[in-house]
């Protein structure tokens, strides 16, 4: 076996890829294990069947199913298949996500102080101290956000029109690297309707190039490295669920990892499935994995970083059976959060063609702190967005295949396609999900993956607050869609299935009787997943310390959304990347200074 790497990172996504970039740039030798393939543009493409239906790079239930139950009382599990899917390829979830790149607000990091307690949930403040939230501090979380935005190339909104929180969220002179994109037609109608209703719409910030984007900041490029130029977006629409075929989406593979490879200190190990972390004398020593040929191998590192996503990081920890005197194994995997997704579908006479452009092109924050008309809310709401073009989403706002699959069969199918395909616009809210201890990831006792290991089991039930939020938002969705000119509309309530966990109710997503038009409660819409490896200020209430390091293991870190103590009401990936940068700098300070 070769000499140990300085750092072994398991997972090449937003958390692992960004950490690999910071650490290699600082001079460390880093190995990154990725269970999916390392693709080039040749493997991308506008192919709905490959990416949506056949799960080319998505969680593939033929390889690694997951199981689901909504409560422990439901028995071992209720469902086996695709649950909370995240991409498996070089670049991780950043390859197939919608590229929405929001910063959290300071209140999101101070959820307990801002909202107080909520019965049935464990609302806490994040273990970021006050100096980390001080915009004047060069090591603040805002400084990390700013660097990430520049690195991946975020095109953002003009917040000058009275947008709530604009001054706090984007300080003076803190503009996005690129201006906001034009709206697609549905987002254009949304923008007009919102202004008419006295709201404050703005372009959804995304790491998608608005025109070509050149990264030439020597602070961000590896030493003596050429500038990195990527082309502009063509609004093809095959964005979320797809790998971008021209590199206009700032996924980790074309941004941070491409730069890390330029240092010559990054070892990429794709198609390799880690299943155990081994300790020696209480320290993480090596990671055992199955390589592309099916051979079991081990890799040693002075520091190990787990960045396998919210579901697979707790699973890897549980598969590793770490000693109970070092890790509180019962706490691992708890406080799983998804963004519950109250929303509404509008149907229009004219052709909207929601699939032009990308996942979300306009949004607003007027309801972020709750609906003002309904008194003071007890917990956060979230950012309200137009959402649309994608593949593989079992609803009408997916691609043409998923639309057809939603509409039933037999005589009438084609008339429904005529009315629905290209005629709908979806609005949804990234609903802040209260952390509940019984919502968790553990190992399924019955189902194994093709590698022979127990699969992850998700136990999840909505907190009552989620339904409250949906009820309070319903009239606002209706008003927006009516002002947009919708001739028909349907509210989407936060059943389990409005997130990407399965619908177990009778009449759920698998019902496809003839003559259906508007969908039943929808499944598979939002893949956001947070929590499970909660970080905290005290050993008694968290798995990780404020550096995202295991309380009992001095050289084992986590860098993905599983560290989130609360979910916030914005898309999580930019925060994952900012935290990864922060954690990587702490690794440098704590392990290599």
């Amino acid at each position: 076996m070769s000499s140990p790497y300085d750092v072994v990172i398991v997972g090449s996504g937003a958390g692992g890829g960004m950490a690999a970039y910071v650490l290699t740039r600082a001079g460390l030798r880093v190995a990154v294990l990725e269970k999916g393939p390392k693709q080039g543009f040749a493997n991308a493409g506008d192919d709905e069947l490959r990416f949506g239906e056949r799960r080319f790079i998505d969680q593939d239930e033929l390889i690694e199913p997951r199981t689901f139950r909504d409560h422990e009382l439901q028995g071992v599990h209720q469902f086996v298949g695709r649950v909370l899917p995240v991409n498996r390829s070089w670049g991780g979830g950043s390859v197939h996500y919608g590229a929405v790149s929001f910063r959290f607000r300071s209140a999101d990091f101070r959820a307990r102080s801002h909202w107080g307690s909520l019965p049935g949930a464990d609302i806490v403040d994040w273990p970021l101290d006050d100096t980390e939230l001080d915009p004047a501090n060069p090591q603040s979380i805002w400084a990390y956000y700013r660097r990430v935005e520049k690195l991946i190339g975020v095109a953002g909104g003009d917040l000058a029109n009275g947008t709530p929180f604009a001054s706090e969220w984007r300080g003076n002179g803190d503009a996005y690297p690129m201006p906001g994109h034009p709206p697609n037609y549905g987002a254009h109608l949304f923008e007009q309707a919102a202004l008419q209703l006295g709201l404050h719409p703005f372009p959804t910030p995304v790491c998608i190039n608005n025109g070509s984007y050149t990264l030439d900041d020597p602070e961000l490029l590896p030493p003596s490295s050429e500038p990195l130029t990527r082309t502009g977006c063509t609004y093809c629409g095959f964005c979320s669920s797809h790998a971008c075929p021209i590199g206009a989406k700032g996924d980790l593979a074309v941004s941070a990892l491409a730069l890390a490879e330029r240092t010559g200190r990054l070892t990429a190990i794709p198609d390799s499935y880690a299943f155990r972390v081994e300790l020696v004398n209480g320290r993480a020593s090596r990671v055992v994995y199955i390589d592309a040929e099916g051979v079991t191998r081990a890799i040693e590192g002075r520091v190990v970083v787990l960045a396998c996503s919210t579901v697979d990081t707790p699973r890897l920890v549980q598969l590793s059976q770490l000693p109970g005197d070092l890790v509180d194994n019962d706490r691992v995997g708890r406080h799983l959060m998804v963004h519950h997704f109250p929303g509404a579908v509008g149907v229009f006479e004219e052709r909207i063609d929601y699939y032009r452009g990308f996942w979300s092109m306009r949004c607003l924050d007027d309801f972020y702190d709750g609906s003002l008309a309904n008194g003071s809310p007890s917990f956060g709401f979230g950012n309200l967005q137009t959402v649309g073009p994608s593949s593989g989403y079992p609803l009408m706002a997916g691609g043409i295949i998923s639309t057809a699959k939603t509409l039933g069969w037999g005589r009438g199918h084609k008339q429904l396609m005529d009315r629905a395909f290209g005629h709908v616009q979806f609005l949804g809210m990234i609903g802040d999900d209260p952390p509940v201890a019984s919502n968790r990831v553990d190992l399924d006792p019955q189902v194994r993956d093709v590698y022979g290991f127990p699969v992850a089991r998700i136990t999840y039930q909505h907190h009552p607050n989620d339904h409250l939020v949906a009820t309070q938002m319903a009239p606002h969705f209706a008003a927006l869609l009516t002002a947009m000119g919708a001739v028909d509309q349907q509210l989407v309530l936060p059943t389990a299935a409005s997130t990407s966990i399965p619908q177990t109710l009778e009449g759920g997503t698998h019902r496809r009787f003839k003559g259906r038009f508007l969908p039943d409660p929808i499944g598979g819409l939002v893949n956001h997943q947070m929590g499970g490896m909660r970080m905290g200020s005290h050993e008694g209430d968290s798995v990780l310390d404020p550096s995202q390091r295991f309380w009992g293991i001095p050289n084992l870190y986590v860098s993905d959304a599983s560290v989130f103590p609360t979910s916030g009401g914005y898309n999580p990936t930019l925060t994952v990347q900012a935290l990864a940068w922060r954690a990587a700098e702490r690794i440098l300070a704590e392990q290599f200074s």
């Binding site: 069947l49 709206p183 697609n184 021209i246 592309a292």
Partner: protein, 246 residues
């Protein structure tokens, strides 16, 4: 069979092969524009049953209308089931098209070790589902399903839908995928289904084929260089694209 040669006439001149046998023979034309395509997985008997069932999932609804077989849904299904044999050995393992542009879709990608395992298991399962399920259709029809009146075919399929029969689950998913997926996978013949709903589909490199910039000139936008939608197109209501997709 509502069109062309009935299966009875066809079978009158040929011996029925055993279930599970691999038949490579020419099937009579069944509709306008259909060509001589022999199934790889299905027997000729199953092939007729499958086509009848597929055309109930998306039927022609008036004279001159298209049905699922016109869009090649049955060809898509046969091709998927022929990707592995009954023992899970790769036969035509064409699961994932190439990329990134339409021109390269037909160069299918090799499967990784775990993808091969996963898809072999799935295709072996699906082959059994279709083989047993199509035989069951005949049983429920009391005779050849393909010769039963359309309303009988429809009600048989509806009863399978209501009880979530594995054949129906597979048939429904596969017909939608075959009809509305990219033609590289064997269905959506001539982009028929996309044209029917004014859908341009994969736009990279195909929407602006004659606006590619000559060498040495400056591109005025990535959509011209790579294909896609220009910004001003985004805020216009959608319309049918001009002409046939390339």
């Amino acid at each position: 069979m509502s069109r062309g040669t009935t299966r009875r006439e066809f079978l009158a001149g040929s011996a029925r092969l055993g279930v599970g046998g691999l038949v490579v023979s020419t099937i009579p034309l069944t509709g306008p524009g259909a060509c001589d395509i022999s199934p790889i997985f299905f027997t000729s008997w199953e092939w007729q049953t499958l086509q009848a069932a597929v055309d109930q999932i998306i039927p022609a609804e008036h004279a001159g209308d298209w049905a699922a077989t016109d869009a090649g849904a049955h060809l898509y299904i046969d091709r998927l089931l022929a990707s592995f044999d009954d023992e899970g050995r790769p036969y035509f393992p064409e699961i994932y098209a190439g990329g990134p542009t339409r021109r390269r879709f037909r160069f299918f990608q090799p499967l990784s070790r775990v993808k091969r395992i996963g898809w072999a298991n799935e295709v072996v399962r699906l082959r059994r589902v279709y083989r047993e399920g199509l035989a069951k259709l005949d049983e429920m029809a009391g005779d050849a399903f393909a010769d039963a009146p359309a309303l009988v075919q429809e009600s048989i399929l509806l009863s399978l839908d209501l009880r979530k029969a594995p054949l129906f689950e597979a048939l429904y998913e596969h017909v939608m995928e075959g009809v509305y997926g990219h033609p590289a996978y064997g269905g959506n013949t001539g982009y028929l289904a996309w044209d029917a709903f004014c859908y341009a589909g994969d736009v990279h490199g195909v929407r602006f084929p004659d606006q590619l910039n000559p060498p040495g000139t400056v591109s005025d936008g990535a959509w011209n260089e790579h294909g896609g939608y220009a910004p001003e197109e985004m805020i216009q209501p959608g319309q049918c694209p001009d002409g046939e997709p390339v």
